[in-house]
């Protein structure tokens, strides 16, 4: 039987921290004289009591390390619990959402998806919008830590390839983990602050700048306005592009940069491929738009760059009506969403690394077709990719497409039209943000979806965020035995 107590202890602490974070929106509302502050106080107290209670009750079982099973449970349950408690202020306070909608909003926030349930964002109390931004920010930080510390050990989706960069075994993890985590937090904070200052310098109000910075760096996508980034068209879009890209690069490279080594970032094959593919997608769409529409080149370039990077990195801001762009740009956007950012970043979806491995594998396979005897090992950045990594990567890809298909079927069964169902499944599993179709509100909010569809999307967002395998493992009976 698995010992739940260490898991519960950590989750309890996370909930307490989440409650502590609610102080910021409370103070903001309090200073703005908005009555909504009470909702944050109530939620914070609930978190404190529930989380603190659990943490204290299970404190007796703290041992040095966690077993593999416990790590899986910890990862998944932390997200589930945080989504639940993070939803509290939205139920008790200003938008007054129903349970389903609030949990959707919180999951969308913590999974850095960015699909929203709320229409009328501009009129929301400041605290509520700040909280949405903070959900993104916390979720982004959480996933970077999980991706760098846990996934390589969990061997999920070929992430064990990066093990040597992080840590070898669980026993040794903790001391270095703390080091790396604190370095990570510092970098994340610096990025966010730089982003906010840039936004403010380019003309956003201080509040907008902070919330948008949080949701940019975490590649989330929540905005303080129903118009999303269309409200800030112009140079701000280019500023956002820079920080969305930064958020979707491997954070380990930033840590190395921090220590004065810029070569790893510059040489990283994944980073190069990611930037190159972004350029291809932007180039193709700009060319298509210039040839088919009569628009100013500068506008086309700006809108395309912003929206492509937004979808590619899994952020989900929009500054134009993407559905009106035409079939070809739409198809390109759809595919970039299925690629996603780099590993161990806040970016989502399949990740560039896995595509690179997959393409390598296809090449090797083709070689084998006409040279059956030749043994060509698969290489990535000069290192041999072992069979178990390769299998894990390929399985991940297949499972991702399969889950995408199943989600689309389930969503259409819940009553959505086909186009809506497919794009909603896409936005959920790849944590992108926008969905398209008649059921989607003109502002991009998904509040008109049937409840069943919302729950399916909640599951999809968590699946996509936690790299599928981590969740599927828990569903296997074998996991619970022995």
């Amino acid at each position: 039987m698995i010992d739940f107590r260490p898991v519960a202890h950590v989750i309890g602490l996370v909930i307490v921290a989440l409650g502590g974070a609610m102080v910021f929106p409370m103070l903001l509302d309090l200073s703005a004289g908005d009555g909504n502050w009470a909702a944050f106080l109530k939620s914070a107290l609930i978190c404190l009591v529930a989380g603190g209670g659990v943490a204290v009750a299970t404190a007796n079982a703290l041992s040095g390390g966690l077993s593999l099973q416990q790590i899986f449970l910890l990862t998944v349950l932390t997200w589930v619990a945080a989504c639940f408690f993070g939803a509290l202020p939205l139920i008790l306070g200003a938008p007054g959402l129903r349970w389903t909608d609030a949990i959707f909003e919180a999951t969308s926030g913590l999974s850095t998806t960015g699909a929203t349930m709320i229409v009328g964002l501009d009129d929301l109390p400041l605290g509520a919008n700040l909280w949405r931004g903070m959900l993104h920010w916390l979720g982004g930080l959480g996933i970077v830590i999980v991706a760098m510390l846990f996934l390589p050990v969990m061997k999920v989706g070929g992430m064990q390839f990066f093990r040597s960069e992080g840590f070898d075994t669980l026993g040794k993890v903790l001391p270095r983990a703390l080091d790396i985590s604190s370095a990570l937090v510092q970098i994340y904070v610096v990025l966010t602050v730089t982003c906010a200052l840039t936004y403010a310098a380019l003309g956003m109000t201080g509040f907008d700048a902070v919330v948008h910075a949080m949701s940019t760096v975490s590649t989330g996508g929540f905005s303080t306005s129903d118009q999303s980034f269309a409200k800030f068209a112009g140079p701000l879009e280019y500023a956002a592009v820079v920080f969305m890209l930064a958020g979707s690069l491997p954070f380990i490279r930033f840590i190395q940069l921090w220590q004065g080594e810029w070569v790893p970032l510059w040489r990283d094959r994944q980073v190069r491929a990611y930037l190159r593919w972004n350029a291809y997608a932007i180039g193709a769409i700009v060319l298509y738009e210039v040839l088919t529409h009569d628009m100013a080149f500068a506008t086309v370039l700006r809108e395309t760059t912003f929206n492509v990077v937004s979808v590619f990195s899994g952020t989900g801001f929009t500054s134009a009506d993407l559905a009106a762009w035409g079939a070809f740009p739409f198809a390109i956007l759809f595919i970039t969403g299925l690629i996603g950012g780099c590993t161990s970043s806040t970016g989502c979806s399949v990740k560039v690394f896995r595509y690179l491995i997959l393409l390598e594998a296809v090449k090797v396979q083709l070689k084998r077709l006409y040279q059956p005897a030749a043994v060509t090992p698969l290489r990535y950045e000069g290192r041999v990719v072992t069979d178990d990594v390769l299998n894990a990567v390929i399985s991940f890809f297949t499972l991702f497409i399969l889950s995408f298909g199943v989600l689309a079927v389930a969503l259409s069964l819940a009553g959505l039209e086909v186009k809506t169902a497919v794009t909603a499944a896409w936005t959920a599993i790849a944590n992108v943000g926008p969905a398209f179709g008649p059921e989607v509100h003109p502002t991009g909010a998904l509040l008109a979806f049937p409840d069943a569809a919302k729950w399916i999307m909640i599951v999809g967002m968590l699946l996509g965020r936690l790299e599928l395998m981590a969740v599927f493992v828990i569903l296997m009976p074998r996991f619970w035995r022995g």
Partner: protein, 482 residues
């Protein structure tokens, strides 16, 4: 340099067979007093004499056995080259198609896709419809040979798993191959006769019965009527579903059945999985439609059974209001169409056997995460799947999905809307022939697609028919070096 003479020799002989085949519709039209007969006789003359010349010119270079590279070249030459000749009657004769459309139609016939660009089938001379049916028949038989004899040796998409069932090497293959080939032709013709008689009994005209019988068993899908099976709603649909099903089971099992052993067919894991998935999809779609519409239960069931069987078996007949149901039906149709039917039949798509093994591998992968120390091989039908087979197979599935994405993007570039483009590539790559989407709805054919889109579909049909890699390998420069 590659010696092309053995390939040219076989190709020339196949052209002669094609020419002889053209005489059949010629005679039909001639006896009906239709001037269209001349189109067939002229085409037969050109094809036959060209074939004879090629065969004679290269007869000094024949060998008993082919090596792997020659096998690739031959299959590609047949599937790219034959349609050019088969398209001739369609260009000279009544529909007066231009080359793009005629080649599309011929490729669609020979790859047993069944997508048509001819609207006004009912008013065409009988010979022309018979010719379309014969193309389906020839293509179905051809691929059954290739799948049983060539693909396992070519190691395309994990087909080497079946190597032991058929033949080990080309050297030893021939004596047994001729035996099995003869029995295969016998089974194929027998099934077509049975289908034709049954169709005639329920009141189809002789031409309709013949063409439908050939197209059903070959899982082709060409119909001599614009409304496809709507002309024979009711009993015709049930019978049609039965024969499409029979045409999509592995032929080797029929050969064994003829030789007196029914057990292999009955206990075939693939056949069982196939029937299970078919039942599940028909059942769920029927329930869903019956629940959400005013239709009678029997109508719903009949239409769902017929159309879904048509899609999963990659045939492409349609009937009733099914194509317009939308909703839950569409994603289900998409998924089962992509999966397709059993390998070793004339059906296409990923095939059930690959889907089953990939599923087993995925479960295996998730298990591996829980207990990293245990190494359990993936098993299929009680046999261990070798790692190289598994790699080839999973990469085939990934390659299929990537190709689907790339071709869809390419097709949207030609101005087709995203939904029509996606389903057009799906229908071509899976050799299905069933059309969904706004561009298809007017006529139920692909006549409204731009020429460039038709060429993309043509390419996709051949890619899908020959298992992708068999074509991709030809593009590699290394293939041509010795």
């Amino acid at each position: 340099m590659l010696d092309v003479r053995p390939i040219a020799y076989v190709f020339g002989r196949i052209l002669i067979v094609l020419a002889i085949l053209m005489l059949a519709p010629g005679i039909v039209d001639w006896s009906a007093g239709d001037r269209n007969a001349r189109a067939f006789f002229a085409s037969a003359l050109v094809t036959g004499s060209l074939g004879a010349m090629v065969a004679i010119a290269s007869s000094n270079g024949t060998r008993k056995a082919f090596d792997v590279r020659e096998a690739y070249l031959l299959t590609a030459a047949i599937w790219f080259g034959l349609p050019a000749f088969a398209a001739m009657p369609l260009m000279i004769g009544v529909p007066h198609l231009h080359f793009t459309e005629a080649y599309f139609e011929a490729v669609s016939g020979i790859t047993t896709t069944g997508a048509t660009v001819i609207y006004g089938l009912d008013t065409m001379p009988a010979g022309m419809n018979l010719w379309r049916g014969l193309l389906n028949g020839a293509g179905g038989l051809g691929i059954a040979f290739v799948a049983m004899i060539f693909l396992p040796v070519m190691r395309v998409g994990g087909m080497q798993f079946f190597r032991t069932e058929g033949f080990d090497t080309f050297g030893k293959a021939l004596p047994r191959a001729t035996d099995i080939a003869k029995q295969l032709v016998g089974v194929y013709v027998g099934l077509i006769l049975l289908a034709g008689l049954s169709f005639a009994v329920i009141g189809m005209t002789p031409l309709d019965a013949t063409v439908h019988a050939i197209a059903a068993i070959a899982t082709g899908g060409f119909s001599p009527r614009d409304v496809s099976f709507n002309a024979y709603a009711g009993a015709g649909e049930y019978l049609g579903a039965l024969f499409m099903l029979l045409g999509s089971l592995p032929y080797i099992r029929y050969v064994q059945l003829v030789n007196g052993s029914a057990r292999p067919l009955w206990q075939d894991v693939q056949v069982r999985g196939y029937l299970k998935i078919l039942c599940l999809s028909v059942g769920s779609v029927t329930l869903w439609r019956w629940w959400t519409s005013e239709m009678e239960f029997e109508d719903v069931f009949r239409e769902a059974l017929f159309n879904l069987t048509s899609i999963i078996s990659s045939t492409g007949f349609f009937s009733g209001s099914f194509p317009f149901w939308g909703g839950y039906m569409l994603p289900v149709a998409f998924l089962i169409g992509m999966m397709g039917a059993c390998s070793g039949s004339s059906a296409a798509g990923l095939s059930v056997f690959r889907v089953q093994i990939v599923w087993a591998a995925l479960v295996q992968q998730v298990r591996q995460i829980i207990s990293p120390g245990r190494v359990a091989p993936v098993k299929y039908d009680g046999r261990t799947v070798e790692p190289d087979v598994l790699d080839a197979l999973i990469l085939y599935v990934c390659g299929f999905i990537l190709t689907l994405g790339v071709l869809t993007v390419a097709m949207t570039l030609t101005g087709v809307d995203a939904m029509s483009a996606l389903f057009a590539v799906w229908t071509s790559l899976g050799n299905i022939g069933y059309g969904f989407g706004p561009l298809v709805e007017r006529t139920g054919t692909f006549v409204d697609f731009p020429d460039a889109a038709k060429w993309i579909m043509t390419l996709a049909m051949i890619l899908g028919r020959l298992g992708l890699l068999a074509i991709f390998v030809l593009v590699l420069p290394r293939f041509w070096r010795r």
